[in-house]
């Protein structure tokens, strides 16, 4: 009976309120964060504009770099050295050989002690005399972002010779322009990679008074048709080297150009 009364009492008692406050606030905060994030995302990603262009297509693109170097810019000189300073510094001097301790001239000689006479040997003549080492440290800044110019050869490509009297000696700067411009337009990628290193082709062309090259022909073939063709194309790609120097009386100059693979 007592237990029955207790049960009834429990039933009549008002139920305790569920703890909904904290979860409700949490839920509200979560919804606010979600809504704000979506809004921010839409604004930041241009969701509200450019709809006239349709739906975004698939992204991605060819992962290649520009290898042509036809931009009329000289290449940045890339220095592989790790030291980065503009000023050359002296490398540490080589350690000097230890000198024998000088004998004390005042020392009294011990009588009876035999002193071995020092064998004097004639200095051996070096078969291959070494040149004096340049004692400068390697220096130079690492190039930042050089335009890719993987198409042309290392270290320039051979001599340019101009067959008009003393033109080459009087106007060396013009010969340099010819060298630079053809070099810029020589795409090494056109050459068959099986071409042996060091193969050289000599191309002949004529440069008019206005600086326009013409009459291209292969003077000495390298034996590799692709190398021959690439070098000839390099000279043909040049529109002009600029007018011949004012001090020159030549109406044209004959140029031979070596492309060394």
């Amino acid at each position: 009976m007592i237990s029955l009364l207790e049960d009834l009492e429990q039933l009549n008692r008002a139920p305790a309120p569920d703890p909904i406050g904290a979860p409700a606030i949490g839920s509200l905060a979560l919804h606010l964060v979600l809504f704000g994030s979506l809004l921010l995302y839409g604004v930041l990603n241009g969701f509200f504009h450019h709809m006239m262009w349709g739906n975004p297509g698939s992204g991605g693109a060819i992962e290649v770099s520009l290898v042509s170097n036809a931009l009329p810019l000289p290449a940045e000189k890339v220095n592989e050295n790790v030291l980065t300073t503009d000023t050359p510094s002296q490398a540490p001097a080589e350690p000097t050989p230890k000198t024998k301790e000088a004998e004390d001239e005042k020392a009294i000689e011990i009588s009876g002690k035999q002193v071995k006479p020092q064998q004097k040997t004639a200095p051996k003549a070096q078969k291959n005399p070494q040149l004096a080492k340049d004692n400068h440290a390697q220096y130079g800044e690492q190039a930042g972002s050089a335009m890719p110019r993987s198409a042309t050869a290392q270290g320039g490509n051979g001599p340019v010779s101009v067959a008009n009297g003393d033109f080459g000696s009087r106007f060396g700067w013009y010969v340099d322009i010819i060298k630079h411009k053809v070099d810029q337009n020589w795409y090494r990628a056109e050459v068959d990679p099986r071409t042996p290193k060091g193969a050289t082709v000599q191309v002949y062309f004529k440069v008019s008074r206005q600086g326009v090259p013409s009459n291209f022909k292969i003077n000495n073939s390298s034996g590799s048709p692709t190398l021959d063709l690439s070098c000839e194309r390099a000279t043909q790609r040049v529109d002009t080297f600029g007018a011949l120097p004012a001090g020159s009386n030549d109406q044209w100059i004959d140029v031979t150009y070596d492309c060394a693979y």
Binding site: P23, A29, L30, V33, S37, L40, L44, N45, H50, M52, W53, G54, N55, P56, G57, S58, G59, G60, A61, I62, V64, S65, L66, V67, S68, A70, L71, P72, L73, P74, A75, E76, K77, V78, E80, A143, S145, A146, M147, P148, R149, S150, T152, A153, Q154, G155, G156, R170, F171, G172, W173, I177, Q184, G211, V238, T240, F241, G242, A243, G247
Partner: protein
């Protein structure tokens, strides 16, 4: 309490996902070889002032600074810094000691020197360029210039001498020191067309329409300026005479619909532009007078921003949205042989290089929700479709335009709410800001 901490963790996780989505997704392309194709090391000696005119020192200072800056910006020289140069200011070939310039620390292969003299309201400059290593025959260039005695003239004469040096040593390619850049500026309250020298000097307003003017394109002979302007009848392509200093008629650009983004052919005979007079924005071409109007494209989706191949005048590159997002296409000038150049992303604002070999354009290669990338300038070799990214992680870059030397590019860079005009060498190096006042957009480099 435990539930709260879980909620907090969930919120942080969601936020971090969004934050990760905004990280720049850039690809860097780095390659290069040592070609031994060095820049020419050149020194610009301070010019020697002649005479006692009180204007002389000021004009000489302007001349020296401008010449030095022009040679430094040329992109083909390794310029000897002033601190490395000998103290002497040779005024004539008799006064110069070439070994001082060829020896360390200057190590110059070339030296530019001369005199500046003002008198009777005239400024006269004698300039020489000598090869320091060729003692027997050192003279490369010898020039005389004359103009009014004013700072502007001193700057102009320095530009001329620099251009002559660049033409001589740059292999027959004209320098750009005397070229102009046209652009849109809102510094007066409305978007008007402005012009400035290539180095950002001498900025001045061209149009005074009190409306919105965009996309300035100067004609190859620098006589006229085509641009898009908003009027009561909508967007129209208008023409401004730089010789008469007033707008002139261009009937083809004012028909119905939006008419925008004009482009001159290199011979100045034709203009291509975008017009929606038939409903969809398409590419139209007409004579410079406005006659012989005809449509080139007829696909669904917008076609805008044409640019001619300046070498051949036989091809046009433009932006088309026919497959969704805008992509760069090229076609023949009669509308045939359409070829898509970009394979994705958001590519706009093409400009064709003077040698006809490259396109530069603005490209967001990772455009789209969840794939945010940067809007950067790219250079593409048209024959191989290989490209190079030339700006990296520096604001939003758009509207690139080639300089006539093919070595420089001018472009708009927007950072936050500010847009300014910048230039750089075509390999992305040597970036310089040209404008600093107000907001400035859509630059266009003159043809000469």
């Amino acid at each position: 309490m435990k539930n709260d901490s879980r909620l907090l963790l969930l919120c942080l996780l969601i936020l971090s996902c969004f934050a990760a989505g905004k990280l720049p997704a850039q690809d860097w392309v780095h390659t290069g070889t040592n070609l031994g194709n060095d820049r020419i090391r050149i020194a610009a000696a301070d010019f020697k002032p002649l005479g006692n005119d009180p204007q002389n020192p000021a004009l000489k200072t302007v001349f020296d600074a401008t010449l030095y800056r022009d040679l430094a910006n040329a992109g083909i020289f390794d310029l000897v810094s002033k601190s490395m140069a000998p103290q002497q200011t040779p005024g004539s070939p008799q006064e110069i000691k070439l070994t001082q310039w060829s020896d360390a620390p200057a190590n110059a292969a070339m030296v530019a020197f001369g005199t500046v003299s003002a008198g009777n309201g005239k400024l006269t400059v004698y300039g020489w360029l000598y090869a320091t290593t060729n003692i027997a025959s050192p003279q490369v260039l010898s020039k005389q210039y004359s103009d009014d005695a004013s700072p502007d003239s001193a700057r102009t004469l320095a530009h001329r001498f620099a251009d002559d040096i660049i033409l001589r040593l740059g292999g027959g390619i004209n320098g750009i020191a005397e070229t102009k850049i046209y652009f849109v500026s809102s510094r007066t309250g409305s978007k008007e067309i402005w012009a400035m020298d290539y180095d950002g000097e001498n900025q001045h307003q061209i149009t005074h329409l009190g409306s919105i003017s965009l996309s300035p394109r100067v004609s190859p002979d620098n006589s006229r300026l085509a641009f898009a302007s908003l009027s009561n009848s909508g967007w129209s392509v208008r023409m401004y005479s730089l010789e008469l200093n007033r707008p002139v008629g261009f009937s083809a650009g004012t028909a119905g619909g939006s008419n925008q983004s004009p482009a001159w052919s290199a011979d100045g005979a034709k203009i291509a532009f975008s017009s929606s007079r038939t409903g969809d924005p398409e590419i139209w071409v007409c004579d410079a007078s406005g006659a012989n109007l005809r449509r080139l494209t007829s696909f669904r989706g917008p076609d805008v921003s044409p640019t001619w191949n300046p070498r051949t005048n036989a091809q046009i590159a433009w932006v088309s949205g026919r497959t969704g997002l805008p992509q760069i296409y090229i076609m023949d000038a009669d509308g045939a042989n359409i070829q898509r150049m970009t394979d994705g992303g958001y590519a706009i604002s093409p400009s064709w290089s003077p040698n006809g070999q490259f396109l530069t354009f603005s490209w967001n290669r990772k455009y789209g929700p969840g794939d945010p990338g940067g809007q950067d300038i790219y250079v593409m070799d048209i024959a191989s479709k290989r490209w190079l990214q030339v700006t990296h992680e520096s604001g939003s870059n758009d509207f690139p335009s080639w300089a006539p030397d093919g070595r420089h590019i001018v472009f708009e860079r927007a950072s936050g709410s500010h847009a300014q005009i910048w230039t750089m060498l075509a390999d992305g190096t040597g970036q310089r800001q040209l404008t600093h006042t107000g907001n400035n957009y859509m630059p266009n480099w003159s043809w000469k």
